[in-house]
Symmetry: C2
DNA sequence: TTTACTTTTGACCACTTGGTTAAACTATAT
DNA sequence: ATATAGTTTAACCAAGTGGTCAAAAGTAAA
C-alpha cells in the first residue's frame, strides 16, 4: 500500500504551507530552508526528503499559488450577469481576494522577472481565457449600451485599479495617509464601490 | 585638497551605476557583491572601500532611485495647465518614464515589504505633496467642470492605470498577446491616449 | 518478535557569501 | 627624489548556505 500519492502526508502539507509563507514574504532569494523547516516544525533534511531541492520546493509553492489564483479569476469573467453588474461583482470580489494575500502579486511579479523562462512555463501550463469576456464587451458596444472602447484597455484598466492600490499599499499609505493603516483600509473598502462606478461612468452611453 | 566630496570620483559613480542595475534586476537578496564589482570593472574590495557594506551600498542606490523618481512626479502635478490637459500630459510623460525603467516599481515594492522600517525612513526623508493637486481637483468640482469624486480615488486610479500595466507586462503580455512583445509595446503606446480619455470621459460633466 | 518499510533526525560537507587586511600602486606636494 | 595621502589589488577569513548521509525512530505486516 504505497502505490498512489494517497493522503498528502500532513508533513508534506505542513512544509508546503510554511514554504508558501516564507517564499511569498521574502522571495526565492531571501527565503532560507532553515526558516521554512523551523516554521514547519521539522528537521531541515526533511525538506529535501519530500522536495528534492529548494528550486523544486519553490516551484511546488508557485504552482499551488497560481492554481488557486487563476480559476478564481476565470470564474467571475464567465458568469451570466449583465456587464455592469459583472464589473461591480468582479471589483468587489477581486479587491477582497487580493487583500487576503496582498503580497502575492508583487511576489509573482518579482519572481517572474528574476527568472522569466522557468516561471513562464509554469504559467503557460494553466490557461486563462479572456476571449469570452472580450467578446461580451464587443457585443455591448454593438448593442450601443456602452461607448466604443478597446476591450483590452477596459480590462487592463479594471485590473489595474483593483490590484495596484493593494500591492502599493506600503507607499500609498505613507503618501496619502501618513502611515495610518486603518484609514487606508477604509480607503480600499470604498474602492469596491468607487472603482466600478468610475468605470461605468466612463463607458456608459448617455 | 581633499576636504570636500568634489568630483564623484568616477569609480564611485561607476559602482553606483553597476549596483543600481544589479540591485534593481535581482533585488537586495539576489544581488551579489561580486557581480556588482565585475559590472563596474573593479575589485570587490573596492566596493567596501567606497561603501562600507552591502546594506550601505543598497541604501545609496535606493536613495538615488527615489530622489530621481520623486521630483519627476511632483513637477507635473504642480504645473499650471488646465486639469484635463494636466491629466493627458501626466499620463503620457509618466508612462514613458516608467517604461524606461520598468523594473523599478516592483523593485521598490518588493524591497519595501522585505524591510518596511528601514526603507520607509528613506522614503519619508523626501517629501511628496499631493495636497496641491487634491485642492485643484476640489476646485474643479466646485466650479462644476467635473463630476463630484473623491480626489484621492481619482489620483490612485490615474497612477494605477499608468503603472500597473507596465510592471505587470510579463504576465499581461502572455495573457493577452501570447508573448508578442512588440504588440504589447504598441498596446502601452495606445494607453497614452486611451487612459486620459477614459478618465476624462468618466469625470467630465455633461 | 522479527522483518521490511518509510519517516525523521543530527552531524556533516563543499561551496558561496559579505567582509577584512596588508601590501602595492598612483599622484601630488615639498 | 621622497614623503604623504588616497586608491586599488590579491589573498584570505568566518559565517552561512543548500544539500547529503548514515543511523535512529517509528510503523505495520508476517
Amino acid at each position: 500500500m504505497s502505490e498512489m500519492a494517497e493522503k498528502n502526508s500532513n508533513t508534506e502539507q505542513n512544509i508546503l504551507e510554511a514554504a508558501k509563507v516564507v517564499f511569498v514574504a521574502k522571495g526565492m532569494d531571501g527565503a532560507r530552508m532553515q526558516e521554512i523547516a523551523d516554521k514547519a516544525g521539522i528537521n531541515k533534511a526533511l525538506l529535501h526528503y519530500y522536495f528534492r531541492s529548494k528550486d523544486k520546493l519553490f516551484e511546488a509553492v508557485f504552482v499551488e499559488i497560481l492554481s488557486k489564483l487563476i480559476p478564481d479569476i476565470s470564474e467571475l469573467l464567465l458568469s451570466e450577469l449583465p456587464l455592469f453588474e459583472k464589473i461591480r461583482k468582479f471589483t468587489q470580489h477581486y479587491i477582497d481576494t487580493i487583500r487576503e494575500n496582498p503580497l502575492i502579486p508583487v511576489f509573482i511579479l518579482h519572481e517572474l522577472n528574476r527568472e522569466p523562462e522557468g516561471i513562464a512555463r509554469t504559467f503557460k501550463s494553466m490557461g486563462i481565457q479572456p476571449q469570452i469576456f472580450i467578446d461580451e464587451i464587443k457585443r455591448e458596444i454593438e448593442k450601443g449600451t456602452i461607448v466604443p472602447i478597446d476591450p483590452l484597455h477596459l480590462i487592463v484598466n479594471l485590473l489595474s485599479m483593483c490590484i495596484f492600490p493593494i500591492v502599493a499599499q506600503p507607499i500609498m499609505q505613507h503618501l496619502i495617509f501618513e502611515e495610518n493603516g486603518e484609514a487606508y483600509s477604509a480607503f480600499l473598502e470604498q474602492r469596491k464601490k468607487e472603482v466600478p462606478e468610475f468605470i461605468i461612468n466612463s463607458i456608459r452611453k448617455k
